[in-house]
């Protein structure tokens, strides 16, 4: 039965249900227990995100606190995955990938191919991304395009509590390494989530709003920004079809292409930087495979090619908002040759 819980609670429930189901599922990360064995400190935070709260005592020995040594413990999660465990490691902010990326892209992502198909590495790396908390340049980036670029990795970005639970359960059961991106501005978002366990398949985009005039392809937090724009545009008589990609690797090309075949117009909304991004990737896909259907040039709504600024005044300009999405939609609907 579904009831309203937050994105954070949905993630916690997914972890709890999978740890109960499968003893090989373990969790590790910084501040999971506030120092195992330190009196009065245990379970202080449940990770800085609060997602693993309560798990330390519920699953003795299976929730590991770590030093701030991302290379060592992300690598350890990967090594444990090759040895029969299903570790879920928390890389606090995705910005910290810089200190452990080698273990992810040169080790986990490549084992299966490099070793001739003989390795299975079922690791999940949960990480927090995105701007909006005035956390500045080193705690606010998206970076999912970097991981999407790497063969061997799967990249998942839930936008709702329902998707957060179903996609995390799939990530844990999946036999490939999965990068699981949680937007820091979505943790308190509430929505209907079934109590029972369920897995959502990767590579299946979600058409979150149907419309015939413009296809809006988006992901993560930008799904909500795009829906807000679509709602105000509908009042003006413009119907947007909003597609939440849910996973960027694998990518559901068919849903995007079928929609553009119907609408003839594409706007891509991506919180990441504009170059070599999901926005450019989707634009290239449509330009290559649905060129004949296009009735207007593709529009991209992205962050600018700058680091994420600190000041409220600047960060609000940096993050794509519903007005910019609406403007882009009007550009493509108003375009004439």
């Amino acid at each position: 039965m579904a009831r309203n819980i937050t994105y954070r609670e949905a993630l916690n429930e997914a972890l709890t249900q999978e740890m109960e189901r499968d003893p090989s599922v373990i969790v590790m990360g910084e501040d999971n227990a506030g120092g195992e064995g330190a009196p009065g400190e245990q379970d202080a935070w449940g990770g800085v995100l609060g997602v693993t709260k309560g798990l330390y005592h519920r699953f003795p020995g299976r929730v590991l606190d770590t030093p701030i040594s991302e290379s060592a413990f992300i690598g350890a999660a990967i090594g444990a995955a090759t040895a029969g465990m299903r570790p879920v490691a928390e890389l606090m902010f995705v910005d910290f990938m810089g200190v452990c990326f080698d273990q992810i892209y040169n080790q986990a992502a490549k084992f299966r191919y490099m070793f001739g198909g003989k390795a299975v590495t079922p690791v999940v790396i949960r990480t927090m991304y995105g701007a909006g908390l005035r956390a500045a340049a080193q705690h606010s980036q998206c970076l999912y395009p970097l991981f999407t670029h790497i063969p061997g990795l799967k990249v998942v970005l839930p936008a709702t509590p329902y998707d957060a639970k179903g996609l995390l359960i799939q990530a844990i059961r999946d036999n490939d390494p999965v990068m699981f991106f949680e937007h820091k501005a979505l943790y308190d978002l509430a929505g209907p989530v079934p109590e029972e366990s369920y897995a959502l398949p990767f590579g299946e985009a979600n058409v979150v709003r149907e419309g015939s005039d413009v296809t809006v392809v988006t992901l993560g937090r930008m799904v909500h920004v795009s829906l807000s724009a679509a709602s105000s545009l509908a009042a003006e008589g413009v119907e947007c079809e909003v597609i939440d990609l849910r996973t960027t690797s694998p990518l559901d090309e068919d849903t995007v292409l079928e929609s553009v075949e119907g609408t003839g117009r594409l706007v891509v909304v991506d919180e990441a930087h504009p170059r070599c991004s999901i926005a450019t990737d989707i634009s290239a896909l449509v330009a290559q495979k649905a060129f004949g259907a296009l009735r207007a040039p593709i529009e991209m709504v992205t962050a600018p090619h700058t680091p994420v600024p600190f000041s409220n005044a600047l960060e609000d300009l940096y993050i794509p908002d519903a007005q910019r999405v609406a403007n882009a939609v009007k550009t493509v609907t108003g375009w004439t040759r």
């Binding site: 999660a77 080790q107 299966r112 001739g116």
Partner: protein, 328 residues
């Protein structure tokens, strides 16, 4: 150099196994060196000759529960873990019949079924991984240990230092084996390693640090045996530093202008195979004929490995896109 330390006796089978492993590594590497010069072997190869006692002495203490992670100089570790030499040779030739179907090459030979988590093209890539395999063994209660081999170059990587700390914090059954062959590529470890010995760093991570003559199989075996027994019984990690010399360049083709006659001296006076043979014959534990028989058997095995590798098919276009994911 003579061995004066009294050590635990090894069985005849153990001694023959150790000698066979070291001789196989030597023969394999000498042959790859010769074949590489003909131009038939693609890419980069980094040879382990001279360091055989380390792989054989450490891995001689391991069993099916255990896992190792290796380096770009990984052939010796593979052989000491029992990876099939014909498949290894085919891999080095880029053949479809290779250990990794020609998709890995010399720097990525792996056989997880034999607890060999791969040679590794990234210096310092292995230590974090073996923290994970050691954690898995600990959580499952298998009694297994995990060993990370790395070089003097790898000893300066943050991954290695972080992993030693994590292994102590988590009290993991992990062994860190620093193979100090004197040079990281062309740069002397007397310059690049700021402490007098790599093993000295163990104190900073709350674990024992041991320095071993890496040319002496028996010294290696003894040190590894003690560390592994401690790890298996819950006593935590150990750092072991092997001091020795590699006989070939950093990679095949390296002109080695950075060093002089140390290899000739090591081959003549320190060589692990010569010393092993002299010792076991002197003590009467094995006869010269026993060793000669192993030599002949190994020479044949390597001949056949090269012959079959050269005759083996290359991967095809169909192989290019497979094995990226389990399911995508």
């Amino acid at each position: 150099m003579t061995d004066t330390v009294e050590r635990k006796a090894l069985t005849r089978e153990q001694l023959l196994g150790a000698y066979r492993a070291m001789r196989t590594i030597r023969e394999f590497e000498e042959r790859v060196h010769a074949e590489f010069a003909t131009g038939e072997i693609p890419g980069f190869v980094h040879l382990y000759a001279g360091e055989e006692a380390s792989a054989a002495g450490v891995c001689g203490n391991l069993d099916d529960r255990d896992t190792i992670a290796s380096t770009h100089r990984g052939h010796g570790h593979c052989i000491a873990r029992g990876v099939d030499v014909a498949e290894m040779m085919a891999e080095i030739y880029g053949r479809r019949t290779g250990s990794c179907h020609g998709k890995g090459g010399s720097m990525h030979i792996a056989d997880l079924s034999r607890g060999m988590l791969g040679a590794n093209g990234i210096v310092g890539g292995g230590p974090p991984l073996i923290c994970g395999t050691a954690l898995a063994a600990k959580l499952k209660g298998t009694g297994g240990v995990s060993v990370a081999f790395f070089g003097d170059g790898g000893s300066n990587q943050g991954t290695t230092l972080e992993s030693m700390n994590l292994a102590s914090v988590w009290n993991l059954p992990a062994i860190f084996v620093a193979e100090n062959n004197g040079y990281a590529e062309t740069t002397s470890s007397t310059w690049s390693v700021a402490s007098d010995n790599i093993a000295d760093r163990a104190a900073g991570f709350g674990m024992p640090g041991v320095i071993v003559d890496g040319f002496d199989f028996f010294a290696v075996h003894e040190a590894a045996s003690e560390a592994i027994a401690r790890a298996r019984s819950g006593g935590g990690p150990t750092l072991i530093e092997m001091k020795f010399t590699r006989y070939f360049g950093h990679f095949e083709g390296d002109q080695q202008t950075y060093r002089s006659d140390e290899v000739a001296r090591a081959r003549a006076e320190l060589d692990c195979l010569l010393r092993f043979a002299d010792r076991v014959v002197a003590t009467g534990e094995l006869g010269r004929s026993d060793l000669d028989a192993v030599d002949a058997e190994v020479a044949l095995t390597i001949d056949q490995a090269v012959e079959s590798a050269k005759a083996a098919p290359l991967p095809t276009e169909a192989d290019l896109l497979t094995d990226v994911y389990v399911r995508y």
